[in-house]
Symmetry: C2
């Protein structure tokens, strides 16, 4: 195998394979694509990777990725500062912004509590969230965490910390129920139970 591949090719295959969801076969495909593509495709990609780290930082208020401080969302006076949506990842901000249905501010935790992966509350931006609630007059915290065990545990931890600090913003969570277009017949039991529990007057 080493004879069939030059070292620089092996090196890029291995670098690609370190990315999440990229196995050895995909890494080879991407590498050989770049070998054939015009030089500017590789140069542009390499440049973009390098600039990503040098140009971006975390917003000191909401901890979303930004090039300016504070970020454009925190700096936007038309957004409701009294409503803060707590999310796990910057990608969640993106997903929510795409809907166009939310006009408040965000708070990015950068993960969830996960004993299995050794991630405790101190590695997340939870202390910063509590401080923000204390000082910024936040009326509602929308806990928009993933609908799984870690998301639930993290939400419970945040509620505990707010209570311990005698903070009482309105606490809400995203609704659980049938996803859009879902077929009742194929819905799993938990989803169906949650949809029933959360049923709404019509």
């Amino acid at each position: 195998m080493s004879k069939a591949i030059p070292a620089s090719v092996t090196r890029l295959i291995e670098a690609f394979a370190q990315l999440p969801g990229v196995g050895n076969k995909t890494a080879s495909r991407l590498t050989y694509f770049l070998l054939r593509a015009p030089d500017r495709v590789s140069e542009n990609l390499a440049q973009a990777i390098l600039e990503l780290k040098t140009k971006t930082r975390l917003c000191p208020i909401c901890f979303n990725i930004t090039e300016e401080e504070p970020c454009a969302l925190c700096a936007d006076p038309t957004r409701d500062a009294s409503q803060v949506m707590v999310v796990e990842e910057p990608l969640d901000v993106l997903a929510m912004e795409r809907t166009g249905s939310f006009n408040g501010r965000y708070h990015v935790l950068h993960g969830v509590i996960s004993p299995r992966e050794g991630i405790g509350p101190d590695q997340l931006k939870i202390r910063e969230l509590i401080k923000r609630v204390q000082t910024d007059g936040i009326a509602e915290l929308i806990l928009a965490l993933n609908a799984n065990l870690e998301g639930d545990a993290t939400a419970a931890y945040i509620r505990g910390e707010l209570e311990a600090a005698s903070l009482r913003p309105r606490l809400t969570r995203l609704a659980r129920g049938l996803p859009n277009g879902a077929d009742l017949e194929y819905a799993d039991a938990v989803t169906l139970t949650r949809a029933l529990q959360g049923r709404q007057a019509w």
Copy 2:
């Protein structure tokens, strides 16, 4: 959306999305992974991408990707120079070398004839192959092209060119039949037909 993502993040997402099989969602995931990963992960990836182009070239004999001229496979005196396997892509060399079952040389065409994609014989290394057969005393050409229409058309074209040049190496193709572990019941009709036509004494 532009407000939720800084320009440098958008730029990398767009650069990743130019890679084959990488859609917008995967591109976002890869980008946010690099944002969180240690700096050396990004630096290593960027460096590997840049070096890929500067360090590699095509072997002047077999047109496989190499850092030296000729490539390690062409330079290896223990490999049988009289047997040349014709493949479409450098990745095919890799796949064949992994089997450890072939000890001849290669010839990489860098594609197949595909009128649909505007690729004619002149864009492939077919002329170079014919010249190689003329000068290098090749006894057998194994046409190891993909088992599809374009592969078949390219094999037929190569046979025609060899005949036109009055060259008569032994011409062979990879066997068509059931893949290893296949269930007869689920095999498609073409595969089954080919497996029957190519049945072997046992």
